[in-house]
Amino acid sequence: MIQYSDNEMMALAAGRFIKDGDIVFAGTGVSILAATAAKRIFAPKAVIFFETGGIDPSLDEIPMAVADLRAMAGTSLNSGLIEAFSIVGHRKLHTVAFLGAAQIDRYGNLNTTCIGDYFKPKTRFSGSGGACDVATFASGVITFMQHEKRRFVEKLDYLTSVGWYKGGNSRKELGLRRGGALAVVTNLGVLRFHEETKEMYLTEYFPGVTIDKIVESTGFPIDTSMAVEAEAPTPGELQILREEVDPQRLICQAILEAPQK
């Protein structure tokens, strides 16, 4: 049997969403693993860029932060934050953003700010960074989560980045013309959002994971009626991940720390 880590499964499951021509906004951790895997395996004509302004870096080594020198080497252009955000929301481009979060709700809204009261938090996290911005402007957001009840919650302690807001048409009514939560990729499976209600539902459970386990690990009711077992990584995909994408095994083996951007 092929052995692989959660991060490897998650990177491949998310990478499969990326199509040729997509402009992919990558963060760090499993997000950069997924973006690079997408380009090397599924969509060679996708372009990876970072909020810091690095566009289409060669990624011979994996960046450990979005400001890593590796995000500015071999690029088509090195610019700045304002230029990067002009790309995220550009009407000509189909942009897909990878994010991480400490908490998520059923409409794909994200919290990367704090647990507990905002002014006296039990745990303070890094904050929005560019997450609120890409959630506003990107064509779609794919979020990486550790699948735990305390992270999949009825109500976020702080809504940092908007997904489908309150469901239905509410995102549009806010004044946001495009975008929204596309998918959530966890260590247990893949979830998407109902076309009309915009509520999260299960589409895939990873090999060795039961639907019951996912239901138990989710803090709100989810529809599992359409779920199928995900394809395990192939030896070829794992080889590319380990030898080309992350040859130093900095992320392939690491456990996911939350939140990441």
Binding site: T52, A65, A67, L81, T113, K122, T160, G175, L176, A258
Partner: protein, 325 residues
């Protein structure tokens, strides 16, 4: 003999740059981003001079932000992100300071903060965006109402407005401009005419510099006018924006500087571990900030072995194969 007559009045040491321009209670912006091109030598000097009550305005400033907050120099913070990538998903002393209510803080996003600096640079009072609609960023004012009337503090965090050019409902968020008293940044080159050249990503450094009343630039090296004016497309700031120039090789350590050196994983890991514990963090400051007599002394402590390990390949821009665990 003065080697650099054109910038003689602005060329100075770290101690003079900080004592002249970084005052108690000033509003300060920091160039760089998380683990890259933070003006660390200036940040350490600010700590060493025990500057107090700084109002720090940040997008994603990692290491310099954390050192300044941890050392007790910061009273008030406007911030989008306090993290150092893999080396500290949330900056440790920032996290503690917020959880212990030791600082006044207000959250924005990276794009919002960048736009606020841009508005300051453009001499306009506010700037619109769509970012923030639906987010709790719009619902929580971090600062207490009492300080809203103070100089350099916006009278409110945000405003909302209907697009005045549309008949249909179309709401935008208005962000107050930022005009920091001082912006500190680290560049690869300053010309002997005062022109600044940053290599790699420039983040929001240029907007931050143009928005500020005073700009302190540290640099890896000072280069001849003939070099910096041969390919001016590569330059970042004209001389008249710069008030103080300090030559500080490795001045961004332990953060990275494109084309010169990588981040120092050993130091960032050491920092995180020591920052987790109050007593050990004091030891860190004693050892690495208060206890060093000069920047040369600091680099001697970093050690030749590490200096060589993190030295960037000048063609590739970083240090390939560096052990980054």
């Amino acid at each position: 003999m003065n080697r650099y007559p054109e910038i003689a009045d602005r060329l100075m040491g770290l101690d003079e740059a900080v004592s002249r321009f970084v005052k108690d209670g000033c509003q300060l912006a920091i160039g760089g981003f998380t683990i890259t091109r933070n003006p660390m030598a200036v940040a350490y000097e600010i700590v060493r001079q025990r500057v107090k009550d700084i109002h720090l305005v940040c997008h994603s400033n990692g290491q310099a932000l954390d050192v300044l907050v941890g050392a007790g120099c910061v009273r008030r913070l406007e911030i989008a992100y306090g993290g150092n990538g893999r080396y500290a998903p949330t900056c440790v002393r920032f996290k503690k300071a917020v959880q212990r209510s030791e600082i006044e803080f207000e959250d924005y996003s990276n794009y919002q903060m960048s736009l606020r600096f841009l508005a300051g640079a453009l001499s306009i009072p506010f700037i619109p965006t769509k970012s923030g609609l639906g987010s709790d960023l719009m619902n929580y004012e971090g600062f207490p109402a009492g300080i809203r009337k103070e100089e350099k503090v916006a009278s409110k965090k945000y405003a909302r407005m209907q697009n005045p050019f549309s008949e249909e409902k179309d709401e935008v968020v208005l962000l107050p401009a930022l005009t920091p008293d001082v912006t500190i940044l680290h560049a690869q080159f300053v010309g002997d005419d005062g022109t600044v050249r940053m290599k790699g990503l420039t983040f929001a450094d240029i907007e931050q510099a143009k928005a500020a009343d005073t700009v302190i630039v540290t640099c890896e090296d000072i280069v001849p006018r003939s070099f910096i004016r041969t390919d001016p497309d590569q330059n970042s700031l004209p001389p008249f924006f710069v008030d103080a120039i300090v030559k500080v090789p490795y001045g961004a350590h332990p953060t990275a500087c494109y084309g010169f050196y990588d981040y120092d994983p050993r130091h960032l890991n050491l920092y995180r571990k020591m920052a987790e514990d109050d007593a050990r963090f004091k030891e860190y400051l004693d050892e690495w900030v208060y206890g060093v007599s000069s920047w040369d002394d600091y680099l001697t402590k970093v050690g030749m072995e590490m200096i060589l390990k993190i030295k960037a390949n000048p063609v590739i821009g970083y240090a390939p194969g560096l052990d980054r665990k």
